[in-house]
């Protein structure tokens, strides 16, 4: 068995391959559903209904998609420069902590600042926290050649412990009756609802705006060129005069900042305070979303809505039939792997000999 490069990406395969990947994912997941003894068709219908079948379903899906768009962007931006930031999970928590530190501490007095000042300060603090957290592995990579995958992964565990420490200590909510949760954000800092009587909040607009911005920057600016050049071939980029180290550091800061913002927006839009389980792995899911989107920022939006729909739909489905909610993670993981294979199918031809 061997692969032969096609002269150019075959246009037919570019369409057929991703569809085949989706079909394959559905088949594999169907096998697992059948194994659980549930009716496959009904299960899929329930997932779809729960994720996209009603106004309420859509509102829940979009609420879930908001942080996923941001973590997906964080991964997509970094991966474009071939900087494997696997630390969005930790950066999200760091951002959430920073948001509460600015907007919730001091007895909720907010440093006596008006919300118009405090709100941007809160977002800035969250972005900064995420950026600083990502700067560390980026510097270790560019200065010492330490693979960033392992360092960003390990930092996730460290950050979670820091969060736990804070929730036990200086940021503990004294009124939470022993529950590990932080003090709440001031009411004036909470994001307003986008649609009445749902949980969709204006954070979604911020996420969409950032996706548009990222797309524009990557496509139209010199910085975007630098990022793409470094990601495609760092040696050649350096030869052509692209400041490679600076680009990687800038990408790291941007990626970390976006993941940090995800934390602040979750706190300000949904939870109101930090808990240790506020993210069910948004940072890791963001990586899958970025890959599904082919690292395209606009594609990230679509992929995030898809994945959020599957997650929300699986939650509601599992209340009706005996299929564990983990089927959602399974679908997402298989979708990632089969989409990867699909990209190969579009560029290479398989020869059996």
């Amino acid at each position: 068995m061997r692969l032969e490069a096609r002269g150019a990406v075959s246009p037919a395969m570019a369409v057929v391959a991703p569809l085949a990947a989706v079909a394959f994912t559905l088949v594999v997941a169907a096998l697992f559903v059948a194994w659980a003894g549930a009716p496959v068709g009904r299960t899929y219908a329930l997932i779809f209904e729960g994720g996209f079948g009603s106004r309420f379903a859509w509102s829940e899906t979009l609420t879930r998609a908001t942080p996923l768009v941001l973590t997906g962007l964080a991964a997509a931006i970094a991966f474009r420069a071939r900087l494997y930031n696997i630390g969005a999970e930790g950066q999200l928590y760091a951002g959430a902590l920073a948001a509460v530190a600015v907007g919730g501490l001091h007895g909720g007095t907010g440093f006596e600042l008006p919300p118009a000042v405090l709100f941007p300060a809160m977002l800035a603090a969250a972005a900064l926290a995420g950026a600083v957290l990502m700067a560390l592995p980026a510097i270790a990579k560019t200065r010492f050649g330490v693979d960033e995958v392992v360092t960003t992964l390990l930092l996730n565990f460290i950050v979670l412990l820091v969060v736990s420490m804070m929730l036990d200590g200086p940021m503990k909510d004294p009124t939470a009756m022993g529950w590990p949760q932080s003090v709440a954000l001031q009411d004036e800092l909470q994001l307003s609802k986008l649609v009445e009587r749902t949980r969709v909040h204006t954070g979604l607009l911020i996420a969409l705006a950032l996706a548009g911005l990222a797309w524009g920057v990557l496509r139209l600016t010199t910085f975007g060129f630098e990022v793409r050049a470094v990601g495609a071939n760092a040696r050649a980029a350096r030869f052509a005069g692209v400041p490679v180290t600076r680009t990687i550091l800038a990408v790291a800061l941007a990626s970390g900042a976006v993941a940090g913002l995800a934390g602040a927006i979750e706190v300000a839009g949904r939870t109101g305070y930090v808990t240790l389980d506020m993210s069910p792995g948004y940072g890791y899911t963001g990586i899958v979303i970025a890959m599904l989107a082919g690292l395209n920022p606009l594609g990230v939006v679509a992929a995030a809505v898809f994945v959020a729909g599957v997650l929300v739909g699986a939650d509601s489905m599992s209340r009706a039939v005996a299929v564990p909610t983990y089927v959602a993670d399974l679908i997402v993981a298989v979708a990632l792997l089969s989409m990867l294979v699909a990209t190969v199918a579009a560029r290479y031809r398989l020869r059996l000999r």
Binding site: F144, T151, L336
Partner: protein, 308 residues
């Protein structure tokens, strides 16, 4: 503080704990090392350990013997390794992304299967795990289970295979210069595939140690980053089995120490600070050795036969 430390170091129980904590790390690190010496990064380890922990335990829970459970875990690891091999060797996909995908896939399959098999349990069902080898009557070792002995024995075995056998030479060569290996008549993909499958089987056993020896049940998040630590330890060990053992022991030493110090409430630090210590040390170690690390030359470089 000094007294507390001295007492801890003089205590055989402490050293038993070190060895116990080190066991899955030794197995996992050897697994990663085998893959990487053949030129393939395997970030699937975290998920493969989860899957191995689950299937090994499930087999024993279903009535199989403990050693059968270990074999089942190894076979599970090998199966996911095969998948990783197809993705990264046959299809030459990005090893980073494929590995992360394997981790997500393997752990979601394990968690899903656990929930399907045990839909309505509030406390995890238990099994009778490996017992300590009291008959050995040696200070620290007799407090261990046979799996620890297996892990320790595998270190020289892997070192021997890599450095002294034609097979090991083949593995090193495909990790250093795959084109040369092919020019000498070896099948690069077969050797790489074999190394990934064998390494992943070890990762599966590393997971099984958690459910069959360290604990007696399967919990969510029980692997908790141990796989990633193994990936870091391989760099720290400069891709040598002996040093990998040393690295795993060093890590386990700090991990066990943090547990004791946390209980002793030394220094008034919150317990999370002690829990953090092993992770922080891993990062520090990575940075410290990075300058003199000599990577296998073809690590993370896919090889396509006949490419031009």
């Amino acid at each position: 503080m000094v007294d507390a430390l001295a007492a801890m170091l003089a205590n055989a129980d402490f050293w038993s704990a070190v060895l116990r904590v080190a066991t899955p790390l030794v197995l996992g690190t050897l697994g990663v090392l085998l893959c990487e010496r053949a030129g393939v990064l395997n970030l699937g380890i975290e998920g493969i350990m989860v899957a191995g922990a689950f299937t090994g335990w499930l087999a024993v829970h279903a009535g199989a013997s403990l050693w059968t459970g270990v074999l089942v875990a190894a076979a599970t690891g090998a199966a996911f390794g095969l998948l990783h091999g197809v993705l990264t060797v046959s299809l030459a996909l990005s090893q980073h992304v494929a590995g992360l995908g394997i981790t997500m896939f393997a752990s979601s399959v394990a968690y899903y299967a656990y929930r399907v098999s045990f839909p309505n349990v509030s406390t995890p069902p238990t099994i009778q795990p490996f017992v300590e080898m009291r008959w050995l009557e040696l200070p620290v070792l007799s407090a261990q289970t046979p799996l620890t002995l297996l892990a320790l024995a595998l270190v020289p075995v892997v070192a021997w295979v890599l450095n002294r056998t034609p097979l090991g030479l083949a593995v090193r060569m495909v990790g250093e210069n795959p084109a040369a290996a092919e020019g000498q008549g070896l099948s690069v993909s077969a050797v790489r595939m074999g190394a990934i499958v064998a390494g992943s089987a070890l990762m599966g056993v590393a997971g099984a140690f958690l459910t069959l020896s360290a604990f007696n049940a399967f919990f969510f998040n029980m692997v908790n980053g141990r796989g990633w630590i193994c990936v870091a330890l391989v760099v720290f060990a400069s891709w040598r089995p002996g040093k990998a053992l040393a690295g795993a022991l060093l890590f386990a030493f700090f991990d066990a120490m943090q547990l004791r110090l946390q209980q002793a409430d030394v220094g008034g630090l919150p317990y999370q600070a002690w829990l953090m210590l092993p992770y922080v040390l891993s990062i520090v170690a990575l940075i410290a050795v990075a300058r003199r690390a000599s990577y296998p030359q073809a690590l993370m470089k896919p090889y396509r036969k006949g490419e031009r």
